[in-house]
Amino acid sequence: MTQTEGLFNRLANPTRFMSIAAAILPWLTGVTVILFAVGLYLTFFVAPPDYQQGETVKIMFIHVPAAWLAMMGYSLIAVSSIGSLIWRHPLADVSAKTAAPIGAVFTFLALVTGSLWGKPMWGTYWVWDARLTSVLVLLFLYLGLIALWQSIEEPSRAGRAAAILALVGFVNVPIIKFSVDWWNTLHQPASVARLDGPAIHSSILTPLLVMAAAFTCLFFVLHLKAMTTEILRRRVEALRMTQVARAAAE
């Protein structure tokens, strides 16, 4: 057994996962708060205005991290879905279920902040181009997954159905990423994750990366917390079933 498989199996025990999460969460929360403090200071007191966009470039420091996390959240759901369908890992569908509402929120924020950035820069809040439309489809996929989880009562059946939908919908993630290269869109092409390096000056790139790290840490704080809550919810359900069974037997 490799080290990774060993860790994977140890985490399969929900009680052990809860104790690891309880140890990590206070530290990760502290790191998140510090990163947000530094990121907001750099955003509002250090970062210069862009030579073309002026001060509206500050919207990029929240829009881009939200968009990255929208895609990362869905990728996490897809990986969890594979874990759920193939290995039947007990925490995989807990991970997938709890990542969906958090990912949906970040997708919504990416759309809203992009719209508020688009109006002064493009002259419009919305345009039906490939990038914007594919991100809107991503939001609908998230909402579909949440609805599916809510509509099927039995968690393992809901998990399997949601995992299949999540994996089918994953095709949208590379479409979002490469839409600006494949089609002519109003949205600018990639300027950070490029083969020839970032096309942004370090004075603007640094606050962007710090804010991205802050958003990412916040995502994982919320996801870990939501996962431990989901485990508690399932224990509550199991205890209620036990209570009903005992009452029926008496």
Partner: protein, 67 residues
């Protein structure tokens, strides 16, 4: 600088305000849900309802203490 956000200040302030409000709502929802489930679990356990694995664990601890 903070005091001068230029001619499009309203868009910048609106974007940051919406992000702050929505993320605060998400944090509150996750926190309150966690507290609510922990309370429900504590109430059920206080009534003497327990999981089979928890009962086994308690029995094992009791037998270890007796030995």
């Amino acid at each position: 600088m903070m005091g001068n956000l230029g001619e499009h200040a309203a868009f910048i302030v609106a974007a940051y305000a919406i992000v702050a409000i929505v993320l605060a709502g998400l944090i509150a929802w996750v926190t309150l849900d966690a507290r609510s489930q922990a309370r429900l679990l504590a109430e059920l356990e206080a009534k003497g309802v327990s999981r089979r694995s928890a009962r086994k664990g308690r029995k094992r601890q009791a037998s270890e203490a007796a030995e």
